[in-house]
Symmetry: C2
Subunit: 295 residues, 2 copies
């Protein structure tokens, strides 16, 4: 958690930013002002970020981007950087580059404009799905998912059956091995090395019915909870979520854990937000800058 505040500056939190490590890759999700300093402070390796995901271009989600892009350039980066974000991020990146033509790496911008969930990154063992949110300007949420792994074959079974490489390949794909005289059932000799995990990042948004279906089965859900229930009117007019909005999404999607952030500067005590959510969804945690969660 690199930044957990909302738009107005506060002394003890940076605006929105998170770093995510997924099977050896590092992602940066939103990049509010001060994100790069948080990365240094909390030990996130800036140069190893290979993809950046920006929800929307409100300042508290994007004003740290130019600093991050400059810094990795000054650090001698040559590896290309992928940036996923709404279309109106394009001119911002273009303007940045017009003032920073010395940068030695390529910025590959991927403008988002989907109306329903769409896979935007398809890696060997993980994938990222983007989906639209409701916040007045174009805003997107992101679902990070490990892919279903191949089956592993028990070592002792290889010896016992004298499995060939072709047969091991068959088992890794989840199929049974069919020999002339016998069948070696996959279930007997192979196992899944891990259960795929998933993490969703949902901010800024008013809640809306489709997100329940889109986020069904997500293990850990980060959902903004900008306002306490008493300020529901503000949440509605500004297209944000309240504590109970976020808690109900967690409950209805079957999440194992709910992380909340983006707290309004008018109520600074995060435990108030947490307590309200827990009346609906007990496994809620109000996050602070520097928090680390393992899924």
């Amino acid at each position: 958690m690199l930044g957990t505040a909302s738009a107005m500056p506060v002394s003890d939190r940076n605006p929105s930013a998170q770093a995510l490590q997924v099977r050896g890759r590092f992602f940066l999700v939103d990049c509010g002002e001060g994100a790069q300093r948080s990365m240094v402070r909390f030990g996130v390796p800036l140069q190893r970020i290979d993809s950046v995901f920006i929800t929307h271009i409100h300042g508290d989600h994007v004003y740290g981007l130019q600093g991050f892009l400059s810094t990795i350039g000054m650090g001698g980066r040559l590896a290309p950087l992928d940036i996923y974000g709404p279309r109106n991020l394009g001119p911002i990146l273009k303007f940045f580059l017009s003032y920073n033509d010395w940068i030695g790496y390529e910025i590959r911008f991927h403008p988002l404009e989907m109306k329903e969930p769409e896979r935007i990154l398809d890696a060997h063992s993980s994938e990222v799905i983007a989906f639209p949110l409701r916040h007045g300007i174009e805003t997107f949420g992101f679902l990070f998912r490990e892919k279903e792994p191949l089956w592993n074959v028990h070592k002792e079974a290889i010896d016992r059956y004298g499995l060939t490489l072709t047969e091991i390949g068959t088992l890794k794909r989840g199929e049974d091995v069919l020999r002339e005289d016998t069948v070696i059932p996959n279930a007997e000799v192979a196992y899944k090395p891990y259960v795929p995990r998933s993490y969703a990042y949902v901010t800024d948004t008013a809640v809306f019915p489709e997100e329940i279906g889109w986020l069904k089965g997500t293990d850990v859900l980060y959902h903004e909870a900008t306002y306490l229930e008493e300020h529901r009117d503000k949440a509605v007019s500004r297209q944000h979520s309240t504590t109970l909005d976020a808690a109900r999404v967690a409950l209805e999607t079957g999440a194992k854990r709910l992380l909340i952030g983006h707290f309004s500067s008018r109520n600074r005590d995060a435990s108030l937000y947490e307590a309200e959510c827990r009346t609906v969804f007990p496994e809620t945690f109000a996050v602070s800058d520097g928090d680390v969660f393992e899924i």
Copy 2:
């Protein structure tokens, strides 16, 4: 001191920014990323800033500006804001406004292009002088000066001599009062309420001969000292100052106190910089974020 680091992000310092209170007015000098959070943290009233002075457009001096401008706009600011900076800051402000047309206050940009010191702000009791620095791209230093105050007249003298309003006005201008039969000497009945103070902000720059004359008599000098002496080669090639460069400027201008900052991230221990400066100029202080100095 809102930010005292140089360009590479470090965990314990923000990049360059300072707030200055001059006879009731608040100035912001440079605005590196995170400046607004430092202002909140250290109690600088954001909305009372009436003028911003930007030395140059390298990111560590200007990437906090958009956040600051947004935040005071969100806070409902209506009062105009004056921004002084190099000409290439103009398109940056223009681009910012093209994305933030909701802002309710006027930004008055004053492009700087002087080749020698020039007064850029002429207030009732203070003034600001800008002057060019040497840093590869257009860069300016700023000298903040209280004006020579009018003379005050001792209260008891008003009664003793039965001074008229006209005569008091004469005395306030520093002149003697000439009556038909006598002279009331200014020196006997009037006094200066304070000695004008001055503060210079000099970053980023290689040292150059003219700055000695331009800064002569400055009370407190903030001068960058990016490098320890052992890295003088880097200071020369990147047009920065070393510790002893800064100390010699303080010595030769007759400063009462030297403040140093903008320390390279390769040597994080500020006491090393301070110790080197003190071999030449004992009244040197390495500044930290949150430090407050009264002149």
